[in-house]
Amino acid sequence: MSGSKQNDYVWFNPLTVWGTATGNEKAPSICVPDPQHVWDESRGYKVPTSKVGRFKHYIIWPNHGGRTWNRLRWWPTRRNLLHIKGQYNRRTLAAEKKIMDRRPVYWALCLLIIALGPFFFPASMMNTLMTAGAIFGIFAAINVCWTLVIGTASIFSLATYAVVGTAGFITSWLSIQYGVPWYLLPIIGSGVGLLFGAAIAIPALRLDGFYYALLTLGLNELCRVFFTTSQEFGASSGGLYGASTFVNDNWEPMTQSMVAYYASFGLLVAALFLFRLINGKRLGRILRMAPEKREAFAAACGVDYKRARVTIFIVTSIALGFIGGFYSAQYRGIAFSIFGFETVLLGLAMLAIGGIGKAEGAILGTLIVVFLDQVLLELGPIRNIMIGVLMLSAVLFLNNGYFGIKQQFNAWRDKKRGEWRSSRSEKGGEALPEEATEIADKDELFFRRFDKLQRDYLKGLVTPEIIDEHKTQPLGQHSEALERVLLYFRRARMEDKYALHRAGPEGPYKIIAFSGQRGVSPRLVDDREYGTLDEAYHGVFMRRIHDLMES
């Protein structure tokens, strides 16, 4: 529609021929454009789309035979070997099995790699790697137990290594003084752990998380000072050595380190089973119901979270005592460094790198830190700086360590998606995609969309010509463009409309607006007065035009 063409067009009232015309006889007006153009423009999908959406990658196995289910179970429980769902392929109709939970597969693979590790270590680094592997097993077991305390029981205890150390020292001392054999050391250690755990569980009942963390940090120091300064525990030699051991001196060195490696691997597996038994069963589920700051709600639901926490704490302390006894049985004793501030720091580094609260996080963190600390020995003190930098960056950039990356990334991606979507979606009467899901009456959505299309179209019809036409004759037959605009105005809801208020018997008139609520009187729009009714009609028209152009 070019401007010149619009000006050329003059509308003749068809009713003049019959002499029954109301309104203008003729008026300059505009050609009415085809609404299809606006429709196509508005309804086109302008957002770039990619072909692949988000879907979860499942492992799907072809099926053997016709069955889509299996009955392999973990003896003697009724649990299935893997969480598998049988289905038929939509396209080929072949029976197949989909693994819904892949974590057991990964666990089995990783543990298999650790178990077979000694056969693949390079010969030049065999000794170092075997020693590091044995240390890794024991520290991973300790950290898995610590994860139970910090993650599952949410007791922020930093005295884990103090429990291990105390049990280790007492069992070593008993073994040296009274000749207690090695197979009793872990059991005595468990008893020590029970006593120690029970003693430090009492403040845990009363204190909040971080008060308890600071207290246990002090307790750790207390143990260090006590054991290093006491006469019985060998104050001078840097540790207590000479306990009974299961690693026979007469064996070949390789056999000795193999025995140590697999013994600590067995300890790690036992710790993982403990984790599974506590975290994945009743106690863990109770505590997942009572996360921090929602304890009151959980208690109101009948969850005795304090008892569950203390139970876990004490069971874990027994396990840690066992590990302490095991440690002294494996290494013939224990060093004071287990109580050091550095040890607590390295332990926290292990947890923080992997992610607090997850067994896999504890194991990965231990692997990284033990590798840096024990294998790269030639780097000197730089090692600890590297560990510190890793720990700091894990804490600064990751919400929950390495194994929290996926969740954090998904949350970030969803946030960004929402931002992009809202930045490119068009407003102006249409509902946003987020809003649309909340509106139950879908007719409402279609109406809004239609209304927006119609307003877009009518905005193109509003020109000085039709305004002049309306001004000369507000009532009666009009040109098509003006008639379309007026029809739209007449169809609007009551609260969008205006009315005229006659101030005296013959005028003047004022414009009022309806409230749209029953019982609420119309309000005066402005103070302008119109002398005649036609002027007032035109005033209302201009106001509606204004509202249309604004929307």
Binding site: P203, L214, F226, F341, P381, V395
Partner: protein, 293 residues
């Protein structure tokens, strides 16, 4: 070995560790950060003063001032690396604590590499005079320690009471969200708080170096003592920290006198645990007014 001697020793110990305890307390209550990097700041300040004494001047005032400035600088470093990136992230308290521990791990190793494991000594600041007081001989360093730490504490307390920045910090202690709504910058306040508390730790380092040597891992014991005092006094309360410092100093001195030095930590922790079981938020910590974060 009479009661006055015991009490004076208690006060001296209380003064030094009390400074760190007040620093821990202020940081926790205004920023919500459990700063376990005060050990690092302590050592940082000590080595800063030592560098000045070694390479620039032996003037005691300048050396002490450089130690305090180095402490404030250490505090700002911790603030920039931990508080400012983390303060609006999820799990801030846990992550902040672990991050400050990471800084102390990195810091102590860096000091070990740069300065070597051998301990260093700072010059004597207070001369070699002594006075008789109530039948006890007080040496110059003891009087100096008590005087300096009390002065520092008073300066900090009056600055927090009287100045605009102090008002901002106290507003953050009451309600951090409301404080940020009325226009108090959380980050800028964080820098002030960490600079001031760092300066306190720096002064503690200077004062303690009159008795002990500087070493890369020397910050751990003052940190743990300071944290224990802050815990006993109630996190967030300056007067609680002062009371707790005097109480623990007394316990230390009495244990030294009647039981022997190796039982000091034991009796102290028994006292702390006993008090915390009765009052879980410390001596003067109120259960409801404590910062929830």
């Amino acid at each position: 070995m009479d009661l006055t001697f015991v009490v004076t020793n208690a006060i001296i110990v209380a003064c030094i560790y009390g400074l760190i305890a007040v620093a821990v307390s202020i940081t926790w209550s205004s920023l919500g950060l459990i700063n376990l990097a005060y050990g690092f700041i302590f050592t940082f300040a000590g080595y800063g003063a030592w560098m000045v004494a070694e390479y620039l001047t032996e003037n005691p005032f300048l050396v002490a001032a450089s130690g305090i400035v180095a402490g404030a600088l250490g505090g700002v470093i911790v603030c920039l690396t931990v508080f400012i990136p983390l303060h609006d992230k999820p799990n801030f308290t846990t992550r902040g604590m672990i991050a400050t521990l990471a800084i102390s791990l990195i810091g102590s190793q860096a000091f070990l590499i740069y300065f070597g494991p051998r301990p260093k000594a700072l010059p004597e600041f207070f001369g070699y005079w002594r006075i008789e007081f109530l039948g006890t001989t007080l040496t110059s360093d003891k009087i100096g320690i008590v005087f300096c730490s009390i002065l520092m504490l008073l300066v900090v307390v009056f600055w927090m009471r009287g100045s605009r920045r102090g008002l901002e910090i106290r507003a953050m202690m009451m309600n951090p969200q409301a404080a940020s709504i009325v226009g108090i910058g959380i980050r800028s306040t964080g820098i002030y708080v960490m600079a001031v508390t760092g300066a306190m730790a720096g002064l503690a380092a200077i004062l303690l170096s009159q008795t002990y040597y500087l070493s890369p891992f020397g910050g751990v014991v003052p940190l743990i003592k300071g944290v224990s005092i802050a815990l006993l006094g109630g996190l967030g309360s300056v007067q609680g920290a002062v009371i707790a410092a005097i109480l623990l100093g007394l316990v230390e001195a009495l244990t030294n006198k009647f039981l022997g030095g190796q039982y000091v930590l034991m009796t102290q922790f028994l006292v702390i645990i006993a008090v915390l079981i009765v009052r879980p938020r410390g001596i003067s910590g109120l259960l409801d007014k404590a910062r929830e974060q």
